[in-house]
Symmetry: C2
Subunit: 501 residues, 2 copies
């Protein structure tokens, strides 16, 4: 293996212009890095002309489709079936659950007329989330304990008029997610579903995105409007900010009472159902993926999510153009047959420009096929993560690609895990909290309580640092080692504090 | 093979009630048949509470996903890449192409505010179609002839405030489609794309839906607003109505001029691009599928589109329950491994009720496994289309399932093709046109012209019969055999006339 010199200036030439190299520091100058990677790798376009609405370009859309498919398959393995509900929700539906409407009404996009002057009697909300669209029908569909559990999901866009700063994928006014809505006979079944949701998130984010997860129960003041409690699967980005991959909400019978979702139990008695909902944020997870693994040369995709897993670049020497091209086609066919997403880049561009193009876009593996490779019956394999090359025989190529693909994902996981493990630091005092947040890390603190009376302490921290109480770890009874640094009361929990998107 | 008696009364019993059999005549009482099949097979729910918006239940959604996947794969094989544009389009974008806005503005759902009182300076349209969202970005992305052809698609919902009668899948205010938007250097390339679009439609509708297609160039008064011309891939339903599976529009440079989509050609000269767009209506095609192949006992799915291709029903006799169950599981695993969508219905219901349930939903093949089948190492296979049974050895099962699946699709095609071939009838006079339309068929007539001055004749036919001039056959220079029955002028074309959804 040969380690490449990494910091040589790198250029892409085109007929129109010389494009200067991409060299932005992701950690020190994250904003520029993220803006530039969006342009250079053609991930999104922010010139659509409406704040918070971005265009997803092909490279992004292909990846989102892969992500959707993997998560949907896992949901279906766990007994969910897909449905599609309308995007427009009548106002009278939305206002049935008091806390829910209070939470979402300020962010709702309202559709109020059609054509020039057909004003609707009742305005229609663009779904900000679909409880109020779905549960009135659940009230009609669910009759008996035999119908339960009832588990459905839909893969859709939602719209929220977010007034904070927007950023492609991380925070916008239109985003793509899956929402699963489940109904159970007992609170126990519902709470088990919350755990299953988080296991699905963990499996997906850690297994496919190669990003570690921390599972947190949110404070009461930050739960889903109308829920009993909310649990989030979060990651920590390189700039120390939390990103919420998914949330799962225990709704108890709050919504069942508002929307009349009842069933007749085994004793012939009518009961309100217990409900949960689960929202993995596909476009936001994609943002996390871009940011977590990208480096100063562009993106790096974990193998299972890469839109193109292997790109084949011909390096034709004089007189051997045809033989090289033939070999590239053979390898393309061989790898495609083995199930890989492979692309033979036979365009007119120079090999170096092709390298730049596909490295920027994060293709994990590149085969470089020249005269020598054809003669020796080998392929030179470039790994995007380490920027190293190795040689494989053509006979072993399928195996090598599979193995190296896995190794790249593992390397990305190792880097992300190292970062993750270094992201949390204990703080005993208010000053220490400020210091840790300033260092772009998350603080682990003793905290009075996640019940509503803890909000005052949380707000003081927020005001001073911009950081939130993100919650306490689910299922790990972490013992406080002192009192709340804000109010001095005995701490009841160990809370995690940090900024977020 | 044993032919079952078809018209025996059939019942499904549940603990709550006896559900009477499903026996509605699709041709003579289509409306009831369609309403009932939607309820009984749980395809859609019209109780959402907003006119024209329906809920797609799981059985429908699974099928739509299969349809999307097959069509997307074919588009990608033909060089299209997926993108996602925002659902909300600023008014100033929508009004740039004069004919386009005139055609769509009356149907647009307008989003005018967020929250209680944040009135938008510029209203946002829910996309009725996405030319006005996409082409401003194409103007930024496309620079040179090297960027062409540029072929993108998105799989999305669109919204149109249709004032006609709505029906699930066929006509509604929210529907699911794919829209492909393509840019070319020359008009020839663009026109070739229109042909490719129709070939993709034909391949999908005839190959997978098992429904024949007629490809028609629309009259000038019925083209896509802003297009040079429109071509439609249509089918004819059992009630004689046309259904538009897809349309493809030659836009010429009309939109390029409105949205400034230009490129520098090989001679370094700037030119307006030539564009096309293509819209296969997924949810409408699904409606056609339901209606075309369903019979008086419920749905029948062509094999490649069935959400469940094979259902396995255990018929346990005393003492053999376990052996039967084990065998069913084996067969399920075997067929799943072979790539079929298979479901082992091991619920508590009686076999007869299971039969009813899955026949209603159109599962093409059912395996009935009892004591005897276990002992003989066979499976009894029930075909939904003919309602006949045959026996297969377990060893040959995979082959038999594959073969029988194909045979079922062929049988559905044969029925649909027979109907199609009998759907058209020549008419020489106005009276004959009325008669043919009244008989739920389509008329083939001599017609003066599809240019705007033919509109008057078309309107007279519409007024008398409710039928439209759907267009003339693409690529088949059909010779008129007389003069236009409406105005008496010499006919320039052979036109097809019929009612539609």
């Amino acid at each position: 293996m040969t380690k490449q010199t990494k910091k040589q200036p790198r250029k892409e030439s085109t007929d129109q212009e010389e494009i200067v190299t991409f060299h932005y520091d992701k950690v020190d100058d994250f904003s520029t890095w993220f803006t530039e990677i969006n342009k250079r790798a053609e991930l999104s376009d922010q010139r659509y002309g409406v704040k918070g609405l971005v265009v997803f370009r092909a490279w992004t859309t292909v990846t989102l489709k892969i992500m959707y498919r993997l998560l949907e398959e896992d949901l279906e393995r766990h007994g969910h079936l897909p449905v599609i509900f309308p995007a427009l929700v009548p106002e009278s539906n939305l206002i049935k659950e008091a806390q829910h409407v209070e939470g979402f009404a300020p962010e709702v996009f309202w559709c109020t007329r059609s054509g020039a002057d057909n004003i609707f009697e009742e305005p229609l909300a663009l779904r900000p989330t679909s409880e109020s669209a779905i549960y009135p029908l659940y009230a009609l569909w669910i009759r008996s304990w035999r119908d339960l559990p009832f588990k459905r999901y839909q893969s859709v866009a939602i719209w929220r008029y977010d007034t904070k700063m927007t950023r492609p994928f991380l925070r916008g006014r239109e985003f793509y997610w899956i929402e699963a809505h489940n109904v159970f006979a007992t609170a126990k079944d519902a709470e088990d579903q919350v755990l299953e949701d988080l296991a699905i998130t963990k499996n997906f984010v850690e297994g496919h995105l190669a990003i570690p997860i921390i599972v947190l129960i949110r404070p009461q003041w930050d739960k889903f409007p109308g829920a009993v409690y909310t649990v989030a699967g979060e990651s920590i980005l390189p700039n120390g900010r939390f990103i919420q991959n998914s949330t799962s909400h225990m709704l108890g019978d709050n919504f069942a009472r508002a929307y009349n979702v009842k069933f007749v139990d085994e004793n012939e008695e009518e009961q309100y159902a217990q409900q949960t909902c689960f929202g993995p944020g596909i476009s936001r997870m994609y943002g996390g993926l871009i940011i977590m693994h990208g480096d100063d040369d562009g993106l790096i995709f974990p193998f299972s999510l890469a839109p193109i897993q292997v790109v084949i670049i011909p390096i034709p020497k004089k007189g051997a153009k045809k033989a090289v091209e033939e070999r590239c086609k053979e390898l393309e066919a061989k790898l495609r047959k083995a199930g890989f997403r492979v692309y033979f880049d036979n365009t007119e561009k120079r090999p170096g420009d092709k390298y730049y193009h596909w490295e920027m876009r994060g293709v994990p593996l590149r085969l470089e096929i020249g005269n020598r490779e054809v003669q020796d019956n080998t392929a030179t394999i470039f790994r995007r993560d380490l920027r190293t090359r190795e040689t494989s025989s053509v006979d072993n190529l399928t195996k090598t690609v599979k193995k190296t693909g896995n190794v790249i994902t593992k390397e990305l996981w190792r880097r992300a895990k190292t970062h993750f493990d270094n992201s949390f630091q204990n703080a005993d005092t208010f000053e220490e909290i400020c210091e840790i947040i300033n260092q772009n890390k998350a603080a682990r603190i003793n905290f009075c309580t996640l019940e509503m009376k803890g909000l005052e302490c949380a707000e003081k921290i927020k005001e001073a640092t911009g950081a939130d109480i993100r919650g306490v770890k689910l299922g790990e009874d972490e013992k406080p080692w002192g009192s709340c640094p804000m109010c001095g009361e005995p701490a009841t929990v160990v809370a995690y504090v940090g900024k977020s998107y």
